[in-house]
């Protein structure tokens, strides 16, 4: 985990979640948010990461404070193939509390740029199957919608949940 001593406040963005509700800056406030960029036609990195995040969430949910103030958001950078329905089915497979969000390329790029999350969709006209490149970093945004920390591979559920719990305690102590 890389912690930022001076967390950067995120600015306005707008996406849609898998139930077609707006997911914007307000959606990040009041909760810790783990954000991961990917796409559902991804056989290796995305399911591996989401399975790890689901285990990390389990660990956090079992802790004294629980996971009520934590959300996990999978941001698809491939809106062409990842409809809301498809995203909903996909994220629920890993954890029923996970949110799947996406938007237009400009909308995705807005949030991705703020987090420094590179991605590229090598979409060619008429091509049914095309490669999608994306960062493997997991981003942690704090309840004040500030980009607070990041996790880079190799990811491990126990490490993520343990470090998150320590960070949440520290920040909770600061706030009171």
């Amino acid at each position: 985990m890389t912690l930022f001593p001076d967390p950067k406040p995120l600015t306005a963005f707008a996406l849609n979640d898998h139930e077609n509700r707006v997911f914007d800056l307000a959606g990040l406030k009041g909760k810790w948010s783990f954000l991961f960029f990917g796409f559902t036609h991804c056989p290796d990195v995305c399911p591996t990461t989401l399975a790890i995040l689901a285990r990390a969430r389990d660990n956090i949910a079992k802790s004294k404070v629980g996971a009520e103030d934590v959300q996990f958001v999978f941001i698809s950078v491939d809106p062409n193939r990842d409809s809301a329905g498809k995203l909903g089915q996909y994220v629920a497979y890993f954890d029923t509390t996970f949110l799947g969000v996406t938007g237009s390329d400009a909308q995705i790029a807005n949030l991705a740029r703020q987090l420094g999350a590179p991605y590229q969709v090598a979409l060619k006209p008429g091509m049914e199957s095309y490669p999608v490149y994306h960062t493997t970093t997991v981003f942690l945004v704090d309840p004040r919608a500030r980009y607070h920390a990041m996790f880079t591979p190799p990811l491990d559920a126990e490490t993520i949940s343990r470090r998150f719990k320590v960070l949440r305690e520290l920040e909770g102590a600061k706030a009171t």
């Binding site: 559902t40 036609h41 056989p43 290796d44 990195v45 399911p47 591996t48 399975a51 498809k86 089915q89 996909y90 497979y93 890993f94 590179p118 991605y119 590229q120 490669p131 490149y133 994306h134 960062t135 493997t136 591979p153 190799p154």
Partner: protein, 143 residues
């Protein structure tokens, strides 16, 4: 020339059948598993630990399975901060070495399963090496 082919075919068949107990071949596989795919996703990734106990390099050139339309050998690489998949046309395993197929690295890309595969199911994959060795490996589907 014509007479040699049945012998070769027989040899490959024999190797295939003995691959499970592959001591005499010297190429073995451990911990072979396929990640169960989420609903609506027609691709899976297979992982394993390949071991070459022979005194020669072994080159994996292809993988096939009757359970999938297509099987490819892929490697996830990170370039310019982004993960991407690279097709590996062949992979060399040096003598007395192991090669790990693991999440975020080498994997078998299994496309369009012909039946529904759930955790606990078994998938048979033939690993083909240069020189004709075929290793039949049972992969366990895991969640």
């Amino acid at each position: 020339m014509r007479g040699r082919y049945p012998v070769l075919a027989g040899l490959i068949l024999a190797l295939t059948f003995t691959a499970a107990a592959s001591e005499e071949i010297g190429v073995s596989v451990r911990d072979a598993w396929v990640r169960e795919s989420p609903p609506g996703v027609a691709m899976m990734a297979g992982y394993m630990a390949l071991r070459n106990d022979t005194s020669r390099s072994q080159v994996l050139v292809a993988a096939r399975s009757s359970d999938f339309e297509t099987v490819m050998i892929h490697r996830t690489i990170v370039k310019d901060g982004m993960a991407r998949m690279e097709h590996a046309s062949q992979i060399e395993i040096t003598p007395d070495a192991s090669l790990l197929f693991a999440p975020g690295g080498y994997h078998l890309m299994l496309l369009n399963p012909k039946r529904t595969l759930r955790a606990g199911d078994r998938v048979d994959v033939n690993l083909e090496f240069r020189g004709g060795l075929v290793l039949s490996v049972a992969f366990e589907v895991r969640k």
